[in-house]
Amino acid sequence: MAKLVISRLLAALSVLFFASLIAFVLLRVSPGDPARQVLGPQASAQAVAELRSEMGLDQSLPQQYVTYVSDLVRGDLGTSWRTRVPVAEELSNRIPATIELAVTAMLLSIALAIPIGVLSAGRRRSIDRISRAGAIIGLGTPPFWLGLVLILVFFTWLGIAPAPFGRLDEGLAPPSEVTGFLLVDSLLAGDFAVFSNALAHLALPAITLALPLAAYLSRIVRRSTIDVYRLDYIRTARAKGAGERRVLFRHALPNALLPVLTLSTLYFGELLAGSLLVEAVFNWPGIGGWVAQSIVAQDFAPVQAVILMGALVYTTLSAMTDVLYGVADPRIRTART
């Protein structure tokens, strides 16, 4: 077990190293001048050159990288050139919003995908046809466009969704911060008005993120359910006299959902990538919108920090999946001990 943990850690460290390197190099070789971006088109060439040297951009790439890494090791993620706010501070303010959105979207997409997948694996062809058409549309639709359509329908036309700005209505005071997740904090404070308002704000962006993934996942669940139903132990369960409901819930699903678990890492990465645009569309005060603006402004520090964080989340999740897989599948659990 210790061996497994150590090799996992080494792998994670190397992933982080390469991610930081790639982020660093890509940003610096892309065209444009951050100093010019900060000072605007009117600034003099001399002012720009002074700022460049202040930013350290006049040093060679390896030198810059060494500075960056040594700051990083000391826990300094840098400061945004655009807002002058330390990246670490901004990040910790914004992370809860993004995680709240991503987790909600993930749960929503799983909740949609499993029943749809199982039903389309079933006897009725019509259900499968509808879900397949839905999946093709869901997968072919760009998330930001879907977000715009949802805003148009539910906010502009029907007026049942709140305005797509932020996590709460303007006038509402956020609950005292415990976890940073509004849904949790408002419940802890017993403030149901804030809770329902936060939920309403969360609904559209979460749906926007969840639908394409649900479309994808439902097809996987369908395929894997069909495959499991062909296996001998399903026949054994029936031969014992188990009813169809029991065959499905006790015998088929626990096996059919294993591949879904394997894909969940990949899947969460998709969610984070998707949140970039969706947060921008809904003006969600999370990391996605922030990093999107930072990219446009050539604000290096936030972008580097977010890429590094993404890599960290990704490696952690994939390690967690391995552990979870062991819990779900006794063949792996006992092979390890």
């Binding site: 132990y233 054994t236 031969a239 014992k240 006299g241 188990a242 029991r246 015998h251 096996n255 006992t334």
Partner: protein, 721 residues
Amino acid sequence: MTSEQPERRDGDEAAPAVGRTLLSVDDLRVEFGSPQRPIHAVRGVSFDVRAGEVVALVGESGSGKTVSALALLGLLPRGARTTMASGTLEGIDLTGVGDDELRHLRGATAGMIFQDPLSSLNPVKRVGDQIVEAIALHEKGAGRKAARARALELLEQVGIPDAGRRIDEYPHQFSGGMRQRAMIAMALAAAPTLLIADEPTTALDVTVQAQILELIQRLQRDLEMGVLLITHDLGVVSRVADRVIVMYAGRIVEAGATEEVLRQPRHHYTAGLLRSLPRLDLPRGGAPVPISGSAPQPEDVVPGCAFAPRCPSAVERCAERPPLEPSGERWLACWEPATGTALDAVAGGEADAAGAAVVPAAPAPAAASAPPALAVERLQVIYGGGRRGLRRRPSAGVRAVDGVDLSIAPGTTLGLVGESGCGKTTLGSAILQLVRPTAGTVAVGGEQLVGRGDKQLRPLRRRFQIVFQDPAASLTPRHRIERVLSEPLELHGLVRSEAERRARVIELLELVGLGERFADRLPHELSGGQRQRVGIARALAVEPELIVLDESVSALDVSVQAQVLALLERLQDELGLAYLFISHDLAVIRHIADEVAVMYLGRIVERGPSEQIYRAPRHPYTAALLSAVPVPDVERERERERIVLLGDPPSPASPPGGCAFHTRCWLRERLGNPERCVAERPELAHLGGEADHRAACHFSDEQAAHLPRTDAVTAREGRAA
């Protein structure tokens, strides 16, 4: 199809233990596919099973035997259409039964076990929980605790050692035999009166098969169950079945008391099946006689007798379907029944075959100077050995092959037998350098293979080839046969022009008994036997000296298996090939091999001329293997005193010390468990005498005195002589 009258069979009331009718079915038919182009899996089958009897449903793949049983319990996949004139299970009418009632019949009235116990058990649920579920489904009142206690009792009843611990393990932690025992426990959970066993021992090793058959028989007697046994193995039938029903192409062709049917088959299919079986209980030399051609496909329309195209005694009338009619205790669907006994049939076959196949006498002694086709010395394959992990701790690894010496003379066959996990396939792979040996040497035709790099090895690969077990999986599905056969020719630069290549492909196809017309076909358009012929042709393409046949006929039906065996023998005679024939099937090995090597846990425990090993085995393991194989002769099976080995083969990861076989050895037990077997590993020693017969046993001289008196081979040979 209306011409066939459904029959009711009420005969065979003889056996006293046989009681009331448990299962009765009349004119069962099963179709798959669209109604416009139906696939007839079962074309009108009627039979009964009564309490206290074992009825065997016998047939080759596609005969409809399994489908019939599954159809009765509503276990067929969707899309199957089942009809029957009438059907009852414990007095309940199966024709009008609702889904819920049928569901309750499954398990409570009829328990089922299947061929592959690993895939038939749910991998993510504990064995105990799966049995508890089967109990709880039918005894609603049973508390969790009571059900668990009952499950434990069942596991003990089916002979699971240390059941109290095992009950909480998962299926993958069980050995094959124990899994099948657990399946049986589950099938018995709700105390059914009928047990349906679908090929229950086909996936098991022969020594484990003997245990499971004994268990089924014991439970059947103790619980007075009826058993419907579905199998392709006539040996298994003769060991356990009271009555046998022979199916061919979805219909019953013959039925009756097992002893009668096997001794005196009246239908030519039954007779042909018996004749095509390589047998342990008859003198060697009588080659199995294949049934020519192959069985009709379920989608074919068969107007007359389905067997007529393959039948040696077909007459004009066979274009009309013979009804299944009673004659005394027997039921038969044939216009021109066979006469004589099964042994006559075999003897007749011998006479037929004598012209074509020369009885393989002693192998033609090769010139003394010629190097052996294969010479293996001290070959060792260790998986996962060496220093591993961060702290580089040395690990012993798994000794899959542990110091094996073999040699095969040009133009002869060495049969390698052993149970699953003994390392025989690894040995084959190591010889072919598909797995690199850890130590030892392998020489093909005098050329040393071990230690050569991939590039140096490539030109030598021409000289040794392999034919795999699964002919379907070893052919790329999208490659036409011509391409399959051209590839080795081109890789080794054996043809210079397009015309030459085409000519060689056709020559190869003809060599294996296929014709030019097969060149443009895809693998899925061929039958199993034809695919295996292609596999052989592919191996022959590069004109090798040695072919490794790894279970190459095991996946084939016996009638087709006999065809392929005959082909292999002919090719050996014509081309002077040497074969390493790896198989778990002792009867096949006996038939084809000149020399035999028996493998147990990575080592050869006995080696010698085939004739000697089968007549007088000198290692207790060989004797036990031979004793475990059931033969298709009821009288013989009844008379035999069998050696039944206990337990399963130990894991090769931790073989027992001393003689690896000592944990299961029956001889050691009879000798009063001498300490030497545990302390000292016996060498593979020459036994004296002219032939090179070796055995790795400290007490090989004492075995003869302790062997069961009437064993299959020796007894029959005495009588025949």
